[in-house]
């Protein structure tokens, strides 16, 4: 029995999606799998949250899309980071690390 997946806050989800695209462009399924893989199964993001996020990020100019043939010879929409997206990923990552460190500190000192 798999552990129940943790629910992700919208902002965090956006960041994770951007991260998965940092290396190479991926299609929707690919992104979903990559998140699952990289998080070692902790996060299983359902399409109901993913696809709206894709639309949102695309509209915000952080991602762009194009249609290519994918591995099963079907047409698939591939997403890739824009320059603005890369910048955003960098700043979000820094911010996230800052916050995580702070929380860790608090949790360590509290008894």
């Amino acid at each position: 029995m798999t552990e129940p997946s943790a629910t992700l806050v919208q902002g965090t989800l956006d960041m994770l999606i951007l991260k998965t695209l940092a290396l190479e462009p991926l299609h929707g399924w690919g992104i979903s799998q990559r998140i699952q893989q990289l998080s070692r199964g902790v996060f299983e993001v359902n399409p109901g949250s993913l696809f709206p996020a894709f639309r949102r990020l695309e509209r915000a100019g952080l991602m762009e899309s194009c249609w290519r043939t994918s591995e099963n010879n079907r047409r698939a929409k591939y997403y890739s980071l824009t320059r603005a997206g890369r910048q955003k990923l960098r700043s979000e990552t820094k911010e996230w690390e800052r916050q995580v460190a702070a929380i860790a500190r608090i949790l360590q000192t509290a008894s």
């Binding site: 929707g28 639309r55 915000a60």
Partner: protein, 907 residues
């Protein structure tokens, strides 16, 4: 950059909808396929894998919804769809739709019409350039003044005006003006027009450009008036001259004095008086020519001018006032009338000038109609609320019918907010159509309102435009009513639990209680509000009735007033009295004339005269002397007006210029001044300005009569004989009592006047008509509040009928059971009527409380009526209860006629 991209993608989504949808479909399909493949790799069969993938996804449609929600263009689309859907729903229910739109149009229309009038009268600025810096100067405060008053706004005398021009520093330009009625007919029956006396800088200061020719300037308004000209208004030009361009240079007569027309004012300029218009304008100096002996210009105690000007940049009203106050003592010292007595002089010297804002023009109309209009607006608003409650009830009923539909849509994933928005869209469509129609209706309604307020005696012109304020008002009303009647039903309709309503044959457990409760609350509030309106209407109707029938001390029907002006004959003082007497004799000789008499002041005509009374024959004037109103009349006056003579005698032939001075007084004078129950024989003197005239002997006492206003408390009146008048008039104002039709009498009088002298100006009016016109305000309020009251009751009763019918429907089962257990018709009817009684009881109680509060608020507008009038309350309550019970009888009867078997079968 991002915004542009966003916009571009969004627009693409809007206009290439099919493409984007297809792409999304493809993308999701691809995702599913890949997920299926993955699961198959894990060992499932294709079918199992597909199913698992679909379940994991959570529903393709749902994901699509999520994506759409993340795109802004969807919201527009959604709104558009909602509106289309709403429109379709309304088209399928024509009865409901037309009823709804009609009530909305009437409600919003009535409100907008009244608001439009208020806006025009009170809020709109003058249609000139830069109205914001317009201000006027007057004596602030002025509690009482002495002299001659000849204008709606008798703020200043000519002497004071001249001084203001010299001494003021706060205005970049200031001018004076005075409204006047002028006769432009060469002889015979007068043709009166609305005129304006203006100072030379008037048009220039207001930055008005002529439509034709030129406007008056400083050169036209010089002392002595060497070359006066007249400017006519645009509407007068169209009306009297057909807009012909050769009007310039043509001569026009003002009280028989010819003046050349020098120009036409533009169509947009109607003077500076809100609610009025002007036909022609002449320079101030011309007033002396036109009014001759009665001219106000040379009189130091003649109050006839009002001022208006533009404040210099940076000057405020307060700053201007302090400057004016500083120079006031000097001004009033220099302009003190020589004929003032010491008390009058002291009062005059204490005056201080001040500035007042004039961007919305000046208006006596505002004074008179602002309060009633606000009241009527409030009443109209309540009617709109009641109408909205009916709509809400109707929508609630429809909502019950659509429960299953709502449940289904909720079950397949629609959000509640989405459904509420959709239902609100329907209400919005109704509200918008209703408001649009209402706006159109308002246009005609407000014109009708103005027409009903304008009289021949007192013509009005209100510039009823649709400016941003009116549009804003209508839009706000539309939105508010939409929310008012749409929101609650929409929320209720969507608060269903899908599981419950989708059950077979279920009427739904959420139906009934809570929804019915809301409908009951609505009906109760409707009853309360309509009772308040009904009580208000009854109070105003009674007030009008009391005022119209108040004992005025004379008989107002059957009296024609005629003014025979023989100024053109240029008679010397001595000849005037005998000429007037001859005119009176001739009029009396006309067959059909029961009685006639001369009166310088006709009661309730807006004219008046008062002076100090000095009791006895020798006592000197005090600081404060008793004041009495005056009239100069011929013998037979009291007989003509049918005012009873209570003691002594009427004037007769012997009371002429050589005889001892006599006077007749009214009861109030006897009580308060002579302090005797029979003052016949008492002597007194009159102080006119600084002259003491007398002694007068009281020879008769008459009943109290109304002098200036029907609403007044009795005031002391003194009558003196025409034959003993100090300055005989050059006209004879004759009151004629007759039983003939007035048109016949008018021709006879014209004939008689012509025979006496062809050179007289005659005019006529009906006494009764003039008095009735003075009650316009009360009549307007009584009629409109009555109309609104009746409308409110009708709406409330319709609402009640709906609710009772619904209740009967809902309890069909129960009624069936009761009947099969032996209940007879009567008890079923009673059962239904009990519901009505309950609603009535609560509604009426609240209504009574509201009525008492409301009556207190309008107590000042009621005449001779206490606001806590128990009889009125009882009548209104009984009326409403009666109508309500009658309306509920029908459903009750229907209930009692139900076939028990049918009823039981009904679930």
């Amino acid at each position: 950059m991002a915004i542009r991209k966003n916009l571009a993608s969004g627009l693409r989504g809007l206009f290439r909808k099919k493409e984007t949808e297809q792409e999304l479909e493809e993308e999701l399909g691809d995702f599913l396929e890949k997920a299926t493949v993955e699961k198959m790799r894990q060992g499932m069969t294709r079918e199992e894998a597909q199913r698992a993938a679909r379940i994991e996804m959570g529903g393709v449609e749902s994901v699509k919804e999520g994506v759409r929600a993340a795109s802004w263009e969807t919201h527009f689309e959604t709104l558009w769809n909602d509106l289309k859907f709403g429109l379709r729903g309304l088209r399928h229910n024509p009865a409901f739709t037309s009823a709804a739109i009609l009530s909305l149009a009437l409600g919003i229309g009535a409100n907008t019409a009244i608001f439009q009038l208020l806006d025009a009268v009170q809020m709109r600025t003058l249609p000139v350039q830069n109205p914001r810096n317009l201000a006027g100067v007057k004596i602030l405060p002025r509690d009482g003044a002495s002299g001659y008053f000849n204008s709606r706004y008798p703020d200043l005398t000519y002497a004071i005006w001249e001084k203001i021009q010299q001494e003021q520093e706060s205005f970049s330009g200031i001018s004076a003006w005075s409204p006047v009625r002028l006769n432009i007919s060469p002889s015979g029956e007068m043709h009166t027009v609305e005129g304006l006396w203006v100072s030379g800088s008037f048009f220039e200061m207001l930055e008005v450009q002529p439509a034709l020719g030129r406007l008056l300037n400083r050169n036209d308004d010089q002392p002595g008036c060497p070359s006066p000209g007249v400017v006519i208004s645009y509407s007068f030009w169209q009306r009297e001259y057909g807009g012909s361009p050769d009007v310039i240079g043509r001569s026009i007569l003002l009280n028989r004095h010819p003046f050349p027309i020098i120009g036409v004012a533009p169509a947009s300029f109607r003077g500076v008086e809100t609610g009025r218009y002007f036909d022609l304008a002449g320079p101030l100096c011309a007033e002396q020519i036109v009014d001759g002996e009665g001219a106000m210009l040379p009189l130091r105690d003649g109050w006839w001018l009002s001022s208006i000007g533009r404040l210099k940049p940076g000057w405020t009203i307060a700053r201007a006032t302090s400057q004016l106050r500083a120079v006031s003592p000097g001004i009033f010292e220099a302009t003190l009338p020589a004929n003032f007595n010491p008390e009058q002089a002291k009062h005059f010297l204490s005056y201080r000038l001040g500035a007042f804002p004039a961007e919305t023009g000046v208006s006596d109309l505002r004074r008179e109609f602002a309060d009633p209009l606000w009241l009527l607006l409030a009443l109209a608003a309540v009617v709109l609320v009641i109408a909205s409650a009916n709509l809400a009830n109707l929508l609630l009923a429809r909502a019950s019918a659509r429960e299953k539909e709502m449940g289904m849509r909720l079950a397949i994933g629609a959000s509640r907010g989405r459904l509420v928005r959709q239902l609100l869209a329907e209400s919005l469509v109704l509200a918008v159509i209703g408001a649009a129609l209402g706006g159109l209706l308002a246009h005609s309604l407000s014109q009708v309102l103005v027409a009903s307020l304008s009289t021949a005696h007192d013509p009005l012109f209100v510039d009823l435009g649709t400016d941003w304020r009116v549009l804003g008002f209508t839009t706000t009303l539309a939105v508010l009513t939409c929310i008012l009647f749409g929101l609650a039903p929409a929320l209720r309709a969507t608060s269903v639990s899908p599981g419950v309503v989708l059950k077979e044959g279920g009427r739904g457990a959420t139906d009934g209680r809570s929804r019915f409760g809301l409908r009951r609350v609505l009906v109760v509030s409707q009853i309360a509000m309509s009772l308040t309106l009904l009580v208000g209407a009854l109070l105003f109707a009674q007030s009008l009735d009391k005022l119209a029938h108040v004992d005025a001390g004379f008989q107002r029907d059957g009296i024609l007033v005629t003014d025979l002006d023989f100024t053109p004959l240029k008679l010397a003082d001595e000849r005037r009295t005998s000429f007037a007497k001859e005119l009176l004799e001739r009029v009396r000789a006309i067959p059909g004339v029961d009685s006639a008499a001369i009166a310088r002041i006709v009661p309730l005509s807006g004219n008046g005269e008062n002076h100090d009374i000095l009791p006895g024959t020798s006592s000197p004037p005090k600081e404060e002397n008793p004041l009495a109103a005056f009239d100069t009349v011929s013998p037979g006056y009291f007989q003509t007006l049918e005012t009873p003579l209570l003691a002594g005698r009427d004037f007769n032939e012997h009371d002429d210029a050589g005889a001892p001075l006599v006077a007749i007084v009214n009861e109030a004078f006897g009580e308060k001044i002579a302090k005797s129950s029979n003052p016949v024989g008492t002597m007194f003197r009159i102080r006119r300005m600084n002259k003491i005239i007398g002694p007068y002997e009281i020879v008769g006492v008459v009943k109290n009569t109304k002098y200036e206003d029907l609403r007044e408390e009795p005031i002391e009146i003194v009558y003196t004989p025409v034959a003993q008048a100090i300055h005989p008039d050059t006209d004879a104002q004759i009151v004629i009592r007759t039983r003939m039709p007035f048109s016949n009498l008018i021709s006879a009088v014209k004939e008689t006047a012509n025979q006496t002298s062809a050179n007289m100006d005659v005019s006529f009016y009906a006494f009764r008509r003039m008095i009735d016109e003075g009650l316009l305000r009360e009549r307007l309020v009584a009629q409109l509040s009555g109309f609104f009251g009746a409308l409110a009751v009708v709406l409330a009763v319709i609402g009640l009928y709906g609710v009772i019918s619904y209740m009967v429907e809902r309890r069909r089962n129960e009624i069936g059971i009761r009947m099969s257990l032996g209940a007879d018709r009567g008890s079923i009817i009673a059962l239904v009527l009990r519901e009505t009684m309950l609603l009535l009881a609560i509604g009426l109680t609240i209504g009574v409380a509201l009525s008492l509060a409301g009556s207190k608020a309008v107590a000042s507008m009621l005449f001779d009526l206490k606001p806590y009038d128990a009889v009125t309350l009882m009548i209104a309550t009984a009326c409403l209860a009666g109508v309500a019970l009658a309306a509920s009888y029908l459903p009750a009867l229907r209930a009692s006629r139900l076939d028990p078997l049918e009823a039981l079968r009904h679930e």
